[in-house]
């Protein structure tokens, strides 16, 4: 069902989301399109009902004066009526702009101003209050329509209107102008802008990324092909609507494939709702998978001895052969039998508790995921995979195909996508899912799309022998050692941080002979470890300087080196020497950003004497540092830091990770 342009998967008529909706309403009117848990019961809306509601909202908006090309702000949790508003806006040729619902009012003001919003559909009183607060700064805001009227009875501002009222108004409008909406839908075209998603703005002000119907339909179609998704999938929609991933999974794919999205009862009930729905298709950031695993492990510690024994016994079996069975690789009959037994006794019930019994495909992205974590889920039979993409590419560049999962790669380029590497290793992407432009920012658009039409991701990576893309770092951070081998600090640091004893790491080596690293130990994990061995210590600085701790960390660094040696591109950048810092890197001291990212240059300046000592091969170095306490006072910490060498390994031929 495909060719390279991604649009032939559907007849030409189905090239916009409103047309797709009307198509589903005609083809599968009674199939559930959406569910929402309310008053303790899952309420179902069929495709026909969704189409009816979308019509009413669209006509209501038109009656209020919403025009083709207008932007509609949508703010709130994942509620069916907010998803309907997205399509309703698209029916009229408008552009929905989703905002993060927990943003504070001044942050919202910027986006509302930038997108010149006249109409906003918001969830509840909380969001209405924010709109009223920033109204003086966004004078073109004319109408605020709310979904949940609770607490809003005494609000008398004329700009406010309930969504119920709007739908009623729309119904009347639709009856009086029966051809109006169909006419509007007919005017739509595949390369119209279907949505504007704002980038997070970690580098400068947020930018509105304009995506077309065609782009998201292509991304959705391609992802469906890779995973063989059908209209029978169930997905839980619980991530912010303003995030490109939710728009792809809960909106575009659901619209293209015609499957069911499920909205949780509230943010706190997601885990319960997940179990009740048992999705077949699931996305979660690595953090969620990590928390789930931690909870399972903690609860197993409290289980009785027999259960604990069973659990660990069969987890060993799963570790040995679970991932291979999932990948369809040959596994001995004995292991197969043990895995079958394990599934009966441990993995099956465990997946049931986690709400993962029915999952066919689960995805994670957004941050580096530890190999152990990844392996755990795959070994118990959850088909967890990674993808790579950004807002500008509809979250869709590379996907891990079934049966060929490598823990440290993001898979192969997805259908219709062309990936190419620039000379500096930067990943360049071309395909139908690229952004049309940044809203009102031709300068930024020109900067990010090169002359040949490739989008410059800013990420550096390379293809391994099997054609899988490995992301290593931000392109601007990647450097070279003196001998010319590639040095990707983030890549090395992430590998170090996967060890529970290491909290932060900073690697140096650009333009030098070798790679060295600062390590921050995790006070809790290492403290615990020290207590268990009866190692006395008086605080972070003392613990960090203990020879036994150095031993522990050196072990971790050596494992990372062994890992790097196995990778032909990276074998040159093994860590030669390291030291454990005498204080924790802290955002209050300017060493980390507020989102806990290392500020490399600042640290290099502040600890220049330590870096020199590392590269000069001195065994110890004295350092005195000014620190800021939480109450604003300043103090000094001085210490003599030990510097240790680490074993490095000869480069090996790439061995297949599995």
């Amino acid at each position: 069902m495909s060719d390279r342009n991604g649009q032939a998967a559907h007849p030409a008529a189905l090239d916009t989301f409103p047309r797709l909706l009307m198509h589903h309403a005609a083809v599968r009117p009674a199939r559930p399109a959406m569910r929402e848990k309310e008053f303790g019961i899952w309420q179902t809306y069929s495709w026909a009902e969704v189409a009816r509601n979308v019509r009413a909202i669209a006509c209501g908006l038109a009656a209020l004066g919403f025009k083709r090309g207008d932007r509609l702000a949508i703010i709130g949790d994942n509620r069916p009526r907010l998803y309907w508003s997205v399509t309703a806006c698209q029916c009229l040729g408008g552009i929905p702009v989703m905002l993060y619902q927990d943003a504070v009012a001044p942050e919202m003001a910027y986006v509302l101003q930038d997108a010149e919003i006249r109409f906003a559909v918001v969830e509840d009183q909380e969001q209405v209050d924010k709109m009223l607060e920033i109204h003086p700064e966004v004078p073109f805001l004319e109408h605020v329509i709310y979904d949940d009227p609770r607490g809003l009875r005494h609000y008398s501002q004329p700009m406010l209107m309930g969504l119920d009222e709007l739908q009623e108004m729309g119904g009347i409008h639709d009856r009086n102008h029966t051809d109006f909406l169909d006419g509007e839908i007919d005017k739509g075209a595949g390369d119209d802008i279907s949505v504007m998603l704002y980038t997070s703005g970690t580098t400068g002000k947020p930018k509105g990324v304009c995506q077309t119907h065609g782009a998201f339909i292509a991304a959705a179609t391609g992802a469906m092909q890779v995973d063989g998704l059908t209209d029978r999938e169930d997905i839980l929609s619980y991530l912010p609507m303003a995030w490109v991933g939710d728009h792809l999974f809960s909106f575009a794919q659901a619209m293209v494939a015609g499957f069911t999205i499920n909205c949780p009862e509230s943010g706190d009930t997601v885990m319960t709702d997940l179990r009740e729905i048992g999705p077949t298709y699931y996305f979660a950031p690595p953090r969620v998978f990590e928390n789930l695993l931690t909870q399972v492990m903690i609860r197993m510690e409290d289980a009785n001895a027999l259960k604990r024994k069973l659990f660990h016994r069969f987890l060993d079996v799963a570790r040995r052969c679970g991932a291979d069975i999932l990948d369809g690789k040959p596994v001995s009959a004995g292991d197969r039998f043990q895995y079958w037994l394990g599934n009966l006794l441990v993995y099956g019930p465990l997946k049931n508790v986690l709400g993962m019994s029915r999952i066919r495909v689960a995805y994670t992205a957004g941050a580096a995921i530890g190999p152990d974590l990844f392996r755990f889920y795959r070994s118990i039979g959850v088909n967890l995979k990674q993808f790579y993409g950004q807002t500008e590419t509809c979250a869709y560049v590379c996907l891990q195909p079934d049966g060929a999962i490598k823990f440290d790669s993001v898979g192969k380029p997805a259908p219709f996508v062309e990936v190419k590497l620039a000379d500096n290793g930067e990943i360049l992407v071309k395909g139908p899912m690229l952004l049309k432009a940044y809203y009102k920012r031709p300068d930024a658009t020109a900067e990010s799309i090169n002359a040949e039409g490739y989008f410059m991701t800013g990420d550096a990576g390379y293809f391994d022998a099997d054609g899988h893309l490995k992301i290593i770092d931000r392109a601007k951070d990647v450097g070279k050692l003196k001998d010319g081998s590639m040095f990707a600090p983030n890549y090395i640091e992430n590998k170090l941080k996967f060890f529970q004893h290491i909290k932060e790491a900073v690697a140096f080596g650009s333009g030098r002979e070798a790679v060295t690293a600062f390590i921050n130990i995790d006070l809790e994990a290492v403290g615990n470890w020290a207590e268990r061995r009866g190692l006395p210590y008086s605080g972070y600085t003392d613990l960090a300087s203990q020879p036994a701790v150095y031993e522990l960390i050196r072990d971790c660094v050596e494992k990372v080196n062994a890992d790097l040696a196995a990778d032909p591109k990276m074998s040159g950048s093994q860590v030669r020497r390291f030291l454990i810092l005498h204080k924790e890197l802290d955002a209050d001291d300017g060493e980390l950003t507020r989102t806990r990212k290392v500020r490399r240059n600042f640290i290099a300046e502040r600890y220049a004497v330590l870096i020199d000592a590392l590269f000069e091969g001195r065994p110890t170095q004295h350092i005195e540092t000014v620190v800021k306490y939480e109450d604003g006072r300043e103090g000094r910490i001085s210490a003599d830091l030990r510097i240790e060498d680490v074993k490095t390994f000869a480069p090996q031929a790439a061995k297949h990770a599995a």
Binding site: F39, G40, I41, H154, E265, S266, D268, T269
Partner: protein, 278 residues
């Protein structure tokens, strides 16, 4: 003390309309109530009234007689002297179940929930008086009982939604933190669809955030359902913010009555709270 019969003047001031809510006529009128246990005088000659749709607070230091006052309203204690008029009718000897049947619901200072039962079941007990079918029919979930149970469950779910406790619906109450238990107790009272709600220190033992939440819910109940609320609290700050009118008790006597600003300026109230000797 001269203060005892002074507040008539204060009460003469018409309570004003607050945030669009229409405060109506007097629903509960307590006249010269005195209550003693043996030789101990708990309440001495106390008079005040409660108007429809208002939030009326009773405050005072520990041992001032606040809970006794609430117990008098709800029929647990019978005052030796005085008259209680509820909706114009005199109630000389009211029993708690009669109070409940008339639409008076309450919460307790020390949480009185069924610890082993789920939040859902606890709130369901608030529907007790509205259940019409017999024990047997309910036990067998048969006939009219089935329909009735579904109707009650709908009401209970509305309360759960209102109080935003969906995530703990099936959790045993005993496993919940204190602040949430308080909220569940409010839920049980609300399930009875009361027209007069008595809250005995709903914010005791809570942290600031929990207190703010509870205030929000109390205001919402009052606003959305028009429920008249009588509130006991010893935390002055909270009470002054959400009440329409406040009665101040000290050593079983009324020392102040009126809108929060008047009470705040009242010399005797200040003295009682700052702890001058009597």
């Amino acid at each position: 003390m001269m203060m005892n019969d002074m507040p008539q003047a204060v009460q003469a001031q018409e309570p004003t309309q607050v945030s669009g809510r229409r405060i109506g006529d007097v629903v509960l009128d307590l006249q010269n109530i005195s209550l003693s246990f043996g030789g101990v005088k708990a309440l001495t000659n106390i008079s005040f009234d409660v108007r429809e749709h208002e939030i009326r607070s009773i405050i005072g230091p520990n041992g001032a007689g606040k809970s006794s006052m609430l117990n008098v309203i709800n029929g647990v204690y019978h005052p030796q002297e005085g008259r209680i008029l509820f909706r114009g009718e005199e109630r000389r000897r009211m029993e708690p179940h009669m109070a409940a049947a008339q639409g008076i619901a309450r919460t307790f200072q020390n949480i009185a929930l069924f610890k082993g039962m789920s939040v859902l079941d606890n709130i369901m007990t608030g529907r007790n008086l509205k259940m019409k079918c017999g024990l047997l029919a309910h036990a067998l979930y048969w006939g009219r009982a089935q329909k009735e149970e579904i109707a009650h469950r709908v009401k209970v779910e509305e309360v759960i939604d209102f109080l935003e406790i969906q995530d703990i619906r099936k959790t045993p109450v005993g496993a919940l933190p204190y602040g949430l238990q308080k909220r569940v107790e409010l839920g049980r009272a609300l399930a009875a669809e009361p027209n007069l709600l008595l809250l005995d220190e709903p914010m005791a033992g809570m942290n600031v955030e929990e207190k703010q939440d509870m205030c929000r819910f109390i205001l919402d109940v009052n606003d959305q359902f028009g429920t008249t609320i009588v509130l006991i609290e010893h935390d002055m700050g909270v009470v002054m913010d959400i009440s329409d009118r406040v009665v101040v008790l000290d050593y079983g006597k009324k020392i102040g009555d009126g809108v929060p600003d008047e009470v705040r300026a009242n010399e005797d109230v200040i003295r009682a709270y700052l702890g001058t000797s009597h």
